[in-house]
Symmetry: C2
Subunit: 307 residues, 2 copies
Amino acid sequence: MEKILIFGHKSPDTDSICSSIVMEKIAKHYGLDAEAVRLGNINKETEYALNYADIQPTREISDVLEGQKVILVDHNEKDQSVDGREKSEIIGVIDHHRISSFETSTPLYYISKPYGCTSTLLYEIIKKENIEIDKQMAILMLSAIISDTLLLKSPTCTQNDIDAYNELEAFLGIDASQYGLEMLKAGTDLSIYSADEVINLDAKEFEANNKKIVIAQVNTADIEDVFVRKEEIEFAMEKQIADKKLDLYVFLITDIINTNSKVIALGEQKEIIEKAFNVKLDENDSALLEGVVSRKKQVAPPILEIL
Amino acid sequence: MEKILIFGHKSPDTDSICSSIVMEKIAKHYGLDAEAVRLGNINKETEYALNYADIQPTREISDVLEGQKVILVDHNEKDQSVDGREKSEIIGVIDHHRISSFETSTPLYYISKPYGCTSTLLYEIIKKENIEIDKQMAILMLSAIISDTLLLKSPTCTQNDIDAYNELEAFLGIDASQYGLEMLKAGTDLSIYSADEVINLDAKEFEANNKKIVIAQVNTADIEDVFVRKEEIEFAMEKQIADKKLDLYVFLITDIINTNSKVIALGEQKEIIEKAFNVKLDENDSALLEGVVSRKKQVAPPILEIL
């Protein structure tokens, strides 16, 4: 049987990596020959989780061949997915985002729920289907939930995420909030990355009304740590805008301790930020967004709405 | 709390009507204020099922108001859905078709599996969630499965559909194949309909590559019974092509006893049929498609592929 590839979005975050590995285990439980792969580098936060679980990073791929069977986790939009996706056959999607620029010519498995994290969905499937889990799977799912919900503090967090978090914590017998803070902090050391790498750590493309935008996000324990590198970051953003013909580039520096974000906006449509969040961009093309931590729930919708 | 509307596709078939009513019961089980409605007339086959279950037809709607919360069953494509759908908030989809011309600005519940029938999916959810079912719900789901799979004979039929059929038959304590044949036959009496009505009984619009097509289908116990009305049917098809600016109108007359279909194709792109099915259209713009009964699995994909 032909091998099925399972992957999350480009610039993979902890949920994309961890959910793809857990999904591989679920697929194998059903007798499918499947392999979790990834569409980009593993970030420091995810590395921390994989090390803790003693799991090797998945294989990186850049595109897919004609007729390749794939399962998408944690995304569905074309621009966030593998290059050449139109050549593949999408047999399944497990996701928790809006649906857009996604279409198939045949029916498929598509399971999406408005939860804070894909792994919460996987955990519920595992429970419902009585699939046995081990400690590795549990730490992967718990790490994904901690990452996507910022330790249950994000407005995207649902009761389902909290329940899964609590049950996985009990199963593992660890202090999840202590583990989670260590993991999140591991992801905030951006000093090792070039500005180009920083803006690509977690960047997502969106299209609406023929406008193309990127919303990138980094987590930090102190916004100033990142903001001092504003000049080189803006330079990298301008380059992306030119290369990808973007109408807007939004860069969010999210304070995981105080749950605020500083936004830097560049591009022809940068005024949209002022309307979307009722703020004034200062002379640095920047503004503080009080209480804003979720790209999916708090940042992308108002911007896409105005576009 | 605001009422949620649940509906299947335009020109509703038995699955669209029955699944919407079952979904209403599931929604109510979860404390939601929901109402199953419909986007068109109830056909004779569905009427037979509703009479047998002693259930009143649902309320017909033609469009939705701004901000209306909706749950779609048995479809997702825009052209098959309610007029003004872009104004609504889609909070859930339960479906078993390809995904196309569907997008949302926020995350939602989207449950789709490549089964023969939406009701099979609902039946599995009901079992997994331990929702109590009654005889009315069982007859609705059984009727939908019988209709969509042509009594388990369609190539779209999966083991999941067969399992659900068998369990529902056992629960009801009836002879499902006898009931099913009566129900299917009730749907084949087209003499009461005008040609215009005949081609709209089960018509679905598709778009691909900026081409707009309709594939309509009727069931019959004898193809000739319908084919003798070819002239008035073609007249009605031509009118639709002009009114809706269609590139292709495909009308399938499906023999539910011998599981074949006769196709009539009109419109600028009618030659596509010859390529898609490796047949020659005769002087009646018509051809016999041996073993073809499923629009979803056997007719739409090769046509959309060529477009």
